[in-house]
Subunit: 414 residues, 2 copies
């Protein structure tokens, strides 16, 4: 019998419980329950001071800030990301958006193997990934081949022939929360002679990634979800040590030159992944990002994952108990090894339900087409009682309202 007291006991035993105090959360009474940390993570308490420090440096040190701090700050962010995704510190750069990083990584991959211009991805991949991969395949004279959403290793193996130069997938399906077998798919891709490119946007910081160990070739990801970097925080790009030196970025910028400050008229790429830097990095956004990365590093991804599995397990159990009778079904895999950090529910009129939950019931999740209600359960700021209370509010709302008949303007939902 799962009741609130049981959830409270889980909180008592939770080694990560103190981390909730490290975030700035809404002061509303009653406080909203935030099930959208997989879309925009909450603000680390330390973020405001970190940004303030760089604003002060801009004010007082002006251009000198670059040598005195900002160049090192950009490297520090890359080092922290590397730690979180299990990568060599020299294998990661931070900057640009995930979309731009994907473009750079996928273009460079296909450019390196002109005999293999096709790309394999899955139908469930994030829209921007599909758009960029299609454009890159088109540009290489190849084809984007789609397998079913959240493929297993066999489906990927079957799709990769000697026309395929790149297998590009998301580690966690943004709709369903299904977790792909990164290691096995990377292995089969390599054995088939193609490069692997993983989008870690929905896994980094909540699922152990281990890029170096898995032998992944390329990876990208965003930092404003489980890494709590703030709205539009910069993305990152990983290139396997040894691989990056053989790649050409499609966007050779001054910041990726071997000697940026020499301002040479001919591009000479920096060694390794640093060549994928392009323009001047956004310092205020990087300052805001560092505290979020530090929190994840301090907690440790293994501990975060353990709590994440427990949180999603609790949400699934409560959904089975309270929502299944209301015609709302769990879509996310029930095997903990096959799911990431969020839980997806199939829910009639999900877009409207989601908006009503925010506006009238203080439960902030989101919806994805066609009928998915998404609950992002970010472990560093959520308590087990929050999951209990949030699921209770959802059940009460659905039981009370005939939401399938209601219409509101749900507005856009990033």
């Amino acid at each position: 019998m799962i009741d609130r007291a049981w959830a409270a006991r889980l909180d008592d035993e939770d080694p990560l419980a103190p981390f909730v105090e490290r975030f700035c959360l809404p002061a509303d009474e009653p406080p909203p329950i935030y099930f959208d940390g997989n879309s925009l993570g909450p603000q680390p308490l330390a973020a405001a001071a970190a940004v303030r420090a760089e604003l002060d440096r801009w004010g007082s040190r002006l251009i000198r800030g670059w040598n005195e701090r900002w160049l090192a700050l950009v490297d520090a962010a890359a080092d922290r990301v590397a730690q979180v995704v299990g990568a060599d510190a020299n294998a990661v750069v931070v900057g640009d958006s995930t979309t731009v990083c994907l473009h750079k990584a996928a273009s460079a991959a296909l450019q390196s193997c002109p005999q293999r211009p096709d790309v394999v991805t899955d139908r469930g991949n994030f829209p921007t990934d599909l758009y960029v991969l299609q454009a890159v395949a088109d540009g290489a004279g190849g084809r984007l081949r789609m397998v079913a959403a959240a493929p297993g290793v066999d489906e990927v193996a079957a799709a990769v022939d000697d026309r395929v130069g790149l297998v590009a997938l998301s580690h966690v399906d943004f709709r369903t929360g299904a977790l792909l077998d990164l290691r096995a798919i990377t292995d089969v891709t390599r054995r088939a002679g193609a490069l692997s490119l993983w989008d870690l946007s929905h896994s980094a910081g909540v699922v152990p990634v281990g890029l170096d160990d898995a032998g992944v070739d390329l990876a990208v990801g965003c930092t404003y979800k489980y890494l709590n970097g703030g709205p539009g925080a910069p993305a990152y790009l990983y290139g396997r040590p040894g691989l990056a030196d053989g790649l050409r970025t499609p966007i050779p910028g001054w910041f990726g030159h071997v000697d940026p400050f020499a301002m040479e008229s001919t591009y000479r790429p920096a060694p390794g992944i640093d060549r994928f830097r392009a323009g001047t990095p956004p310092i205020l956004s990087i300052a805001a990002l560092l505290p979020g990365l530090a929190l994840v590093a301090e907690a440790g991804v293994a501990a975060i994952r353990a709590k994440s599995v427990a949180l999603t397990g609790l949400a699934i159990s409560l959904a089975d108990a309270w929502l299944a009778p209301l015609d709302v079904a769990v879509v996310t895999p029930r095997d903990p090894d096959r799911r990431g950090g969020h839980v997806a529910l199939r829910c009639p009129n999900a877009r409207v339900v989601s908006a009503l939950l925010v506006e009238e019931h203080g439960v902030i999740g989101d919806a994805r087409e066609p009928d998915i209600l998404r609950l992002g359960l970010s472990p560093l700021h959520l308590r087990f009682v929050d999951v209990h209370d949030g699921m209770r509010r959802i059940a009460d709302a659905l039981a009370r309202d005939d939401v399938s008949a209601r219409t509101i303007d749900p507005g856009p939902a990033p």
Copy 2:
């Protein structure tokens, strides 16, 4: 006879004088003289509160911040940039770095005219422009053709034949401060059947641009120089109304989709320039940028330009009087119609001189290879007495030190 009293009188008569109070400047005594606003503009007083407001919104509103404010903030930044560069508000997007914006604009331009894969630029263009243009020309199977630095309209006309699809130049030469004839070069480019792409990084906010009036096809620029947007502030991209609808961005991202929040699996470009948006925009950096744009708009580019011409004229006169005897010569064109907002001096051992001026004489300028000392005279925060005092300090330093014999590690210089 130019003396300090004369400079002070110019300040008394300067309608823009009050704007210096709108910036946060170093509190050091004596205050440094900042001749590097063309590299990193100083911080508007309003910037910290603007960033703080969005940090607070992130903390209290979480994901709701996007609908409640941030999507509008991105549009507001684009509208402000459009105002500053004389463009229709719907012709500008803000986001990414200048390097990435250049890549998008140049790639799209060449993609639109496959029979004309060559690009014309000048040898004096900024390194990142040269690198990106070379890569884009290579990718199109074309050639990057270089004319002499800061070309006149005739040199450009002579270089454009029916293999040339794009003429890509910087409005102001980043080394010498030479101002190119944007309107005439745009005209001759159009008449020759090629597209024009202007990099406004060193002109926007200090020289009237008038993109719409001049019939420019594409433009990009950075916002952390005369627009005072902060270190690594986002760039912008302009596309002529009517042209953009026929262009394809090489980086089709979710944010440039006609309906981003529908999360469709097939890319359908947004109308006009909005298709050049790629990933999620950096909100904290955009918040910091808006006050800088507002100050330029409030002062008006015409008034800023008038003061800029006077400031650079004063610096040139003082250089002739005090520095020429010390073997330091003015490189920047003396005709006000042919120069931008900074003054370049040919100075032996310029890199070391620049570092010494910063460290020992409180004059913050910068150096560019091989022997250029750059003085950026940003009109909104500099007084005429600052120019007088800074030039005096430079003359005194050069007269006292045998700088041609000194060596220090000048460090990198962004």
